[in-house]
């Protein structure tokens, strides 16, 4: 009898009327970059006074590597990203470096935004680097503190009756981390026109006992952006599973 009981589920599994299969569905690129033979990561605008790490350089290097291994375009590597020169020009107008007032920061952001949207400027950059697809943008990286009381439920055993019961309460949780905001501009180096803009925001939080450096958090967050960033210029695949029926 016991053998029969064991046999029934086994038979049922053997005669299962469905099969799970992995599938990959194609996802088109957002912009057609087939006419570009080169790509230039021209640099990034970040907030003034972020000295903890060089966000612009790290991002430039990371994107150059990704573009090299995920696209057919030749990655142009100038000694200095061209946007940095334009940003330095803006800083010179603001006066001495070091500590900036709120007004100066706002002025800088405004001027930097103008530079990012200046088609004539990008056309000249494009001319200098043989009409590539230009990638530039804005970055923001901030420490986050989400510590506070959080509702929680615990199962406790009554010492007298030995019965288990649910206890609701609040517990203070220390959660700190980082947030990364990025806006990428994809610019046609032949005309200076912006082909596409893409905004990303991601956040990572750590518990009290977890320690993470800003740099490692930055890479963790960029890692989440990258598939979507690459999806703008190269076809991607959505992986999943479906059930086939017999």
């Amino acid at each position: 009898m016991r053998a029969l009981l064991l046999l029934v589920p086994a038979l049922a599994a053997g005669c299962a009327s469905f099969v799970e299969v992995p599938i990959e569905t194609p996802l088109q690129a957002k912009i057609d970059v087939t006419t570009f033979r080169r790509v230039l990561v021209a640099g990034f605008v970040s907030e003034l006074g972020e000295e903890e790490m060089d966000l612009g350089s790290e991002t430039t290097r990371l994107l150059q590597n990704q573009l090299r291994s995920n696209t057919k375009m030749q990655v142009v590597e100038p000694d200095r990203p061209p946007l940095h020169d334009a940003l330095e020009g803006i800083l010179e107008k603001l006066g001495e470096g070091g500590r900036y007032t709120r007004q100066e920061r706002e002025q800088y952001q405004l001027e930097a935004d103008r530079a990012l949207q200046d088609a004539e400027y990008w056309r000249k950059v494009g001319e200098e680097f043989q009409n590539p697809l230009i990638v530039a943008g804005k970055l923001g990286f901030e420490a986050q503190n989400r510590s506070g009381f959080q509702a929680e439920e615990r199962v406790v055993q009554d010492p007298v009756s030995r019965r288990q019961r649910l206890v609701r309460g609040n517990r203070y949780l220390e959660r700190k981390g980082f947030a990364l905001n990025a806006e990428f501009y994809f610019i046609d180096g032949r005309t200076g026109a912006t082909l596409h803009k893409e905004k990303f925001t991601e956040e990572v939080l750590y518990a009290e006992d977890q320690k993470a450096s800003p740099l490692s958090s930055y890479f963790e967050l960029m890692d989440r952006f990258l598939p979507n960033f690459l999806g703008v210029i190269s076809p991607q695949k959505i992986r999943g599973t479906r059930v086939l029926l017999r």
Binding site: V21, R242, L245
Partner: protein, 114 residues
């Protein structure tokens, strides 16, 4: 007359080969899909549906193969037809939900593009 004889015997022989059922085609298609041969799988599922247009399982499988090959509009039609025939199938509904989820993602991308 003599020349016609081999042709007739060939036709007779062809007639004696049993026509595969919708279920046979589905089974063959599943084996092909498991091996990643999605062109063949789609062909078999299409055949299965042609033999029995009310075979919801074949329609579901055809939808999956169409989805895998990027023919999303036809995949949607096939899923919808399968669900019309078998409205209570958890598996077909689950596939269709996953399809729609992926389709939304694709459409959001397409909308941003324009």
């Amino acid at each position: 007359m003599l020349l016609a004889l081999p042709v007739v015997s060939l036709l007779l022989a062809a007639n004696s080969v049993p026509i595969a059922s919708s279920g046979d085609e589905v089974q063959f298609g599943i084996e092909a899909a498991r091996r990643g041969l999605w062109n063949e799988a789609r062909f078999r599922f299409e055949k299965a549906v042609a033999i029995d247009p009310d075979n919801a399982d074949a329609l579901n499988n055809l939808a999956v193969s169409l989805e895998q090959q990027g023919a999303f509009e036809r995949a949607r039609e096939a899923y919808e037809k399968a669900l019309k025939i078998k409205p209570n199938s958890v598996y077909i509904q689950q596939n269709f939900d996953l399809f729609r989820e992926a389709d939304d993602k694709r459409n959001r991308k397409a909308r941003k593009k324009t």
